[in-house]
Symmetry: C2
Subunit: 461 residues, 2 copies
């Protein structure tokens, strides 16, 4: 058997242990946005560092930051003539609310139908764990790795990675690598692996609207004192026209149009609107006119209200004219656009929409610039080959609608291209109740990671 | 001293006891809309019945209903030749949220600057208690009342009085009276008493919007799957035009226009926009073009969103494309309009505003038809005289923006006109945190009630 085959066999022998480790990993409620979970986030970092040592990595640190710790490990014993890969992932997870919509407790992982259910299962613990176990299988095979590996797993991805850039900038030399690999993107479809070469950016703001200085009786004051919820709805409604196109002046000015070649390629993917409609159970899709769904999802900017709150929201009928209302609004950006500029465009436009008797503030909560990564690199070829061998089918090249801001960071600071080789699926409820991860893809993810690391080492040696 | 003067003196001697009784009354958290407060609502009814017996009323019942109990008392010992007044009030109170905006606990009444702070202080326990103490002072004076009195105090006013109409209809004969008196309206201004002769009606609905079958990642789905919050904002924004006029087709068709005489009278009140702006701390008022503030508040219909909720509303930035959003929307109606018709008009209009990929339901939560009461009746004259003597100034005639649905009920079922003689003030936070009631108006309310009951008995005897 080849070294790769031996490592694949080792990964299969390790599988039961890999699954029980994943259950442990997922039972730690590492919600980075919730201050009350800080101790669990720290515990998760320690647990992960311990697991990386157990996998065979000789140098593992839990690095303190101004926020949640970064877990960093490396093994550069393959020497300077061997290539170096930096694996990046995150061990923090999204909040769990609305908790009442979960079938099982989010931090009590349950396996049903070869699928594991827990917050973080697909985003990103399950995918991180596949890489850890791939490295462990490779250590078991030859006692050492055929390439230099650096492992950087942060605990603040879900809150915009505020402490990652300082870390990467401070360790610019230590983190040098030939390629970065990340598994935090969905596959094109079940059984159909893909490499993501484009990511949308993100600009996330909060709009706070204030009217009267206190909640008023809507009977006594309604009609003469402006209502901040009505005023907020007026603002939100004006952010898009009735066709679904964003109405912020200048918003589309910097968008680099898709080339006809890329539009043809996206059309040829055979993306199924019917599958999407069935998945989310809507009778019609709705988006920017003139673009097909994969263009709308991956290559065109969008605007969504992520949350809204104001007044009385309990049971029954309370006749309040509220003092305040709030909306969280995010825009997905595409190449050409910049976070700072669209936030300014939005803010300027909102100012023109403020009704009498109302004051409005727009607060920039976080952002990420859009990214395109080169497709024709040794690491991308090694990844495509690993995926094709593992899944037995051609690898697709897609873009993705979400943001992974570190891709831009690694490109800018380390000069390293990123391979986005994900094993999740789009309907695995990444940010909603009953998040889950296919265990078939978990197993294939381990094997594809083995083939990627080994294949990349072989191609470069 | 006249009997009235003796009773006024007795009410003053009773004052310390009246205040301590009010503190007890206000410390019971009788929130009718909250099922978890049901025991407190029941306890409040029992407490009030006990207090009415203590005041001197010979027949006091706590009447079970399908919801919260009705407290009913009567004393018809003045005989058939004496007039009969029905006093109506409510012992239930609004919910207390947002609790964090209260300076003191809402059910721990605090007296500061001759003002009592607690939920229900002005709406309506403080005003109910003024009548109870007025009757007690009259009993202390002569051992008996100079007129027949029926006291009906319900526990469901804040939830639309679902069990009051059946009670009144079933006891139509027992409740017969020459006039109804209610103290649940504001005075025109501090020191300036008023009688309210018009009330707006209310139509209160909930709009529920559903998009995808679960909360989605806004990066993965945004741009192709419609967002229920954006779709809800589109609906709400379309309910009014940019000038503040309601845009529901047909909404104004049945509105009976104000006569020029009434417009002149409202203009002559000298309503101060500056006072209102300072009260609620806004730099501009906002309402239907072409009408002055008292017209907008009292005599023109309005539409307000009372509450809105959807998606992620916690700290930070969660990139969710939510499954659902909800708004509570109420319309204040004026004479000519009917609750059922405007709800139907709203529902039909909303149907035309539903975007692709979204489903919407409109649920009628509760309503009340608008009312005008006759101004030239013996009871109104007795009330005006009582107010003028007590406050030492002319009584104003105003309308009110809120709804008191029982006024229409008493007119329809009992054929009795209602006197709306309130002692509250508009800025006493009736439905918001730090609700309070002026103790000067509480004392004057007791005295005005004594003068009203005694004066009405004298006028009719």
């Amino acid at each position: 058997m080849s070294t790769i085959d031996t490592a694949i066999t080792a990964s299969r022998e390790l599988y039961d242990q890999s699954l029980s480790g994943l259950v442990e990993f997922l039972s730690i409620g590492s919600v980075s946005t919730d201050p009350s979970c800080a101790a669990d986030v720290a515990r998760c970092a320690d647990w992960l560092a311990h697991a990386l040592r157990g996998a065979g990595l000789p140098h593992v640190d839990v690095v303190t930051t101004n926020g949640h710790p970064i877990v960093y490990a490396e093994d550069c014993s393959a020497g300077p003539s061997a290539p170096t890969v930096l694996f990046y992932g995150h061990y923090d997870v999204q909040p769990v609310d609305p908790l009442n919509l979960w079938t099982d407790a989010p931090f009590n992982p349950i396996v049903k139908n070869d699928t594991i259910y827990a917050r973080g299962a697909t985003d990103d613990k399950g995918q991180v764990w596949a890489h850890v176990k791939a490295l462990e299988a490779m250590y078991r095979t030859g006692g050492r790795l055929p390439l230099n590996v650096k492992v950087l797993i942060e605990g603040e991805e879900e809150i915009g990675s505020p402490n990652l850039a300082p870390f990467v900038e401070a360790r610019r030399e230590a983190l040098r690598c030939d390629a970065v690999v990340i598994s935090d993107t969905p596959m094109f479809a079940p059984g159909s692996p893909s490499l993501v070469y484009g990511l949308r950016g993100l600009a996330y703001v909060q709009i706070d609207v204030t009217g009267p200085n206190r909640d008023l009786h809507s009977g006594s004051y309604g009609g003469a004192v402006n209502n901040p919820i009505n005023a907020l709805a007026h603002i939100i409604a004006a952010l898009k026209d009735s066709s679904g196109r964003i109405a912020i002046p200048g918003f589309y000015d910097d968008v680099i149009p898709l080339s006809q070649e890329e539009r043809d390629e996206l059309a040829a993917l055979g993306y199924s609107d019917e599958t999407l409609k069935a998945d989310v159970n809507v009778d019609e899709l709705f988006g920017e006119p003139g673009f097909i769904t994969p263009e709308r999802l991956w290559a065109r900017p969008t605007l969504d209200v992520n949350g809204i709150l104001g007044g009385f929201t309990g049971e029954g009928a309370k006749t309040v004219l509220p003092s305040k209302a709030m909306a969280k609004v995010s825009m997905r950006l595409v190449p050409g656009q910049s976070t700072a500029k669209v936030v300014q465009q939005l803010t300027n436009y909102v100012k023109t929409l403020v009704q009498p008797g109302i004051s409005v503030t727009v607060t920039d909560l976080h952002g990420a610039n859009p990214v395109l990564v080169p497709r024709d690199t040794p690491a991308m070829r090694a990844a495509a080959s690993a995926l094709e061998t593992t899944f037995g089918t051609a690898c697709r090249y897609t873009r993705e609608g979400g943001s992974i801001p570190v891709v831009e960071l690694f490109d800018r600071v380390l000069g390293s291209p990123t391979v986005l080789m994900g094993f999740g699926l789009n309907n695995e409820n990444a940010h909603s109740p009953d998040e889950h991860f296919s265990l078939e893809n978990f197993r294939k993810g381990i094997e594809a990671a083995v083939r990627f690391y080994a294949g990349y080492a072989a191609e470069r040696s």
